[in-house]
Symmetry: C2
Subunit: 197 residues, 2 copies
DNA sequence: CGGTTCCTTGAGGATGATCAACGAGGGTGG
DNA sequence: CCACCCTCGTTGATCATCCTCAAGGAACCG
């Protein structure tokens, strides 16, 4: 979702700078704030005890994140970290609710955004549970192209092998080997280590 | 979510009977209706080409389902099927929107329900991606107990091994063998094949 | 009882994970 | 310009885990 900066500021929200790699919240924290990215980008993710990571989502300039938790009585199920130096605007839960009451069409926007996230997470689980590495990777790539509205064309994928692994729940080596096979099958191209799909 | 029957009926919704195992919609269908369970229960799930199944969620009397798709421009990512003989109320998309406009606190309810679903799906992906069969099963059991608000006590789990497998993305045999180990470790009990946790 | 559904067990195999090592490329500072 | 570092990509060998296939047993129901 995106809430106008004027509104956020009028209601007393505070912008804060974060260095690359700083945590905005941790798994298990009590959710108290609405967050929106002003500059930079944010990743929401989980790690398990072996340090393995799973990326739940990424958020860029204009996106808010973590809002669902404000509506339910649960702790954050994941961590949020900046992917680069960033500025994040922060507003207390009750003020956020007040804004929602004031601007009913923000509620509609929110419903819309939540609906998208549910759809996203449904398709992701579906793809991850059922399939082999190659299909998982293809699903991920398709989702990316869809997100940036380049579904027709071949584009360079701006993710490292490790990032793809984190999004698909695979290991780097597995991603690399799968991509190698896919290159032979010509389902992807690899030019100077850059992935094209 | 739950919308009062009087409201639904006033707006011309239709109740339909379904036999056990009938499809309400299929993956790939165009979403056109709001659905709410009046009697019986519904499961939303995916299958892959090998017939493997993944359960996305289950819905009981009073629950609506599939609503997120009404807000976005996508086809159903999953199937919906009745788990027993059921009665489902059905309302066209635009009438559903009209109701939402009429009753703003239904919007709030909807936001709340969507938020819960997002949380659910996040924790599920987290648990499924990262962990071994035993932890996945424990996560599933915990989620179930939480849902029915019996978190303190040991209860009989009303799911077959196959159903647990479908929820956790495992195979039946794996579930059975994991449960056997867990029984030895005393993390679950099995009495006359019934699972207690 | 006969059928159906569910549970169980064993053997064998495939696949992805793990561990270890190395190569390529880009950036930085001397 | 070169040396160094750091991140990212790659490869091979080995292993553990879960899946697959097959068969049979237990429980329940009409």
């Amino acid at each position: 979702m995106f809430v106008d900066y004027e509104i956020l500021i009028a209601w007393g929200s505070v912008a804060k700078k974060y260095k690359k790699g700083e945590y905005i919240f941790h798994e298990g924290d009590l959710p108290k704030f609405f967050f929106q990215v002003i500059e930079g980008s944010v990743k929401i993710f989980n790690t398990n005890n072996e340090g393995r990571e799973f990326t739940q989502g990424a958020f860029n300039v204009g996106d808010s994140f973590g809002e669902p938790l404000l509506f339910i009585d649960e702790l954050y199920p994941s961590n949020a970290i900046t992917l680069e130096d960033s500025v994040i605007i922060k507003l207390s839960k009750d003020k956020f609710f007040a804004i929602l009451d004031e601007y009913p069409n923000l509620q509609k926007k929110l419903i819309h955004v939540f609906a998208e996230r549910i759809w996203n997470k449904s398709t992701t689980s579906r793809d991850i549970i059922n399939t082999n590495p190659e299909s998982r990777i293809i699903s991920f790539l398709k989702a990316y192209k869809k997100k940036i509205k380049k579904e027709g064309e071949d584009i360079e994928i701006p993710y490292t092998r490790q990032q793809i692994a984190n999004y698909t729940g695979l290991r780097v080596e597995t991603v690399i080997r799968a991509l190698a096979k896919m290159k032979i099958k010509k389902s992807v191209q690899i030019v100077k280590r850059k992935l094209i799909y």
